[in-house]
């Protein structure tokens, strides 16, 4: 079956602009995660959605970052007023449920470059 799909694969933006990154999880997966991969910080957790529960936003680095998940499926990560330090690869993952024992499957990521 199809894996986790992310779009766009690459995004170049100017400092101060807003960007939206999209994630389409594996069909039937109720848990969805956003991570960020950058040279200085490695792979770091951003936000986690599980079913209809309130998302865990504890990893978001600032209030410029937000995410939503509509209809329990597709998710959008929004970064407002982008800064150069936001340049990174943004990864989405999904798992069949949110238990610790479930494998997270990753998408190919969106490479964001802020000029």
């Amino acid at each position: 079956g199809a894996g986790v799909s992310q779009s766009p694969s690459n995004k170049v933006t100017e400092k101060g602009k807003d960007v939206e990154l999209r994630c389409d999880p594996i069909s039937g997966h109720t848990a969805l995660y956003w991570y960020r991969q950058s040279l200085g910080q490695g792979l770091e957790f951003l936000i986690y959605f599980q079913g209809n529960s309130a998302p865990d936003k504890s990893g978001l680095p600032s209030d410029r970052f937000s995410a939503e998940r509509t209809g329990g499926s597709v998710s959008t990560l929004t970064i407002q007023r982008t800064q150069q330090e936001d340049s990174a690869v943004y990864l989405c993952a999904s798992s069949s449920d949110g238990t610790a024992g479930n494998i997270q499957y990753f998408g190919a990521g969106t490479r964001l470059s802020v000029l």
Binding site: G3, A31, Y33, Y35, G42, L43, E44, F45, Y48, Q50, D56, S58, G59, L91, A93, G98, T99, A100, G101, I103, Q104, Y105, F106, G107, A108, G109
Partner: protein, 114 residues
Amino acid sequence: AQSVSQHNHHVILSEAASLELGCNYSYGGTVNLFWYVQYPGQHLQLLLKYFSGDPLVKGIKGFEAEFIKSKFSFNLRKPSVQWSDTAEYFCAVIPFTGRRALTFGSGTRLQVQP
């Protein structure tokens, strides 16, 4: 909060050499442990996992890892590497309770020379 340390940042081996990549974690409770691999230009994929039971787990492509609870370690091994194993390897943990997100180590870049 948990943390993961990978001691080897860049490893260069010749084909057929043996591999061991170190991973130590810091967490007071029970965790599940993972190794993920990222081949050049590809997305992260699961190599192997430990949840419970036999502390020696086997994964894809001949990789194995041993969980040593007393040392908080989960080292990755392969007896004979191939050029196609060139990739970046990430150790990760997720606690049984609490935040359901993976905490990753900083990664080890493995370069296998033919």
